[in-house]
Amino acid sequence: MGLVAKDRIRAKLKKGNTSVRLLLAHPMHTGRAKNKADELIPAEFIQDIRCWRNEEEVLTIKCGTATARNPYFSFQLVGGKADDLIEFRWVDNVGAKGLAETRVK
């Protein structure tokens, strides 16, 4: 889809709050689609995403299969200052996991 398969994460101060944007590289197969050989592609999708700010857990997201491919999330954190550490960890239904982190700008 024109996207480079790479996790992208941005955290920026905006009017006193921290605005966080996250783009994960993940195929998010629903388990319903078929490949060219007409075989079902097994389900593979992120189920659980957690976000920490400086070791404090601030958000938990549970995803179903209907979350779009290369999932994108954007939300705000109250307050915050430059150089805060924002950290994401995710787990998918086959047990793969990943980590994305950045510092607030």
Partner: protein
């Protein structure tokens, strides 16, 4: 190869896989399974909006359909590609515990749910898949009550294939 030999091999194989498992467990790779335990399987596998809500928040009656909004144009009223439809949720409510996004006519309506903490606030934006023309529903649970809003989205190419 004699029979005893084959048995020996089977035992060896078994021992190797057992020790591999032990190593995996010790190295902390088993952690995903522990996290997965929290994934609400019933809610995500429910086939109607009501069932999904009952499984996710334990109630399906909605107190009010005001107090939260989709941002204008997100989701759009007409989406060409149902595989990636943007949604944005805004609300003035306080003490929001949980937010859920559902698509009425998807095979499994519940798309995602997230738990806010005092440190995290709306607006929340994401992208979802929509199979056919359907209502997109957002539910907020705050102080034990449910709030709901919905928006009808037409899609050209279904996104759950």
């Amino acid at each position: 190869m004699s029979k005893t030999d084959q048995q020996r091999r089977a035992i060896l194989k078994g021992a190797i896989s057992a020790s591999t498992l032990a190593m995996v467990a010790a190295s902390g790779l088993i952690l995903p399974q522990r996290l997965l335990a929290h994934w609400p399987t019933n809610a995500f596998n429910a086939e109607t909006v009501e069932d999904a809500l009952l499984a996710l928040v334990g109630q399906a009656e909605v107190a009010s359909d005001k107090a939260l909004n989709f941002k204008v144009g997100s989701p759009p009223s007409y989406a060409v590609n149902g595989a990636s439809v943007p949604v944005a949720i805004e609300s003035n409510l306080e003490n929001i515990e949980r937010v859920a996004i559902l698509v009425e006519k998807n095979p499994f309506p519940l798309v995602m749910s997230f738990d806010l903490t005092p440190a995290s606030i709306l607006p929340f934006k994401s992208r979802i898949k929509i199979r056919e023309d359907s209502n997109v529903i957002a539910i907020i649970r705050a102080e034990g009550k449910l709030y709901k809003t919905s928006h009808f989205v037409e899609v050209d190419i279904g996104g759950c294939g």
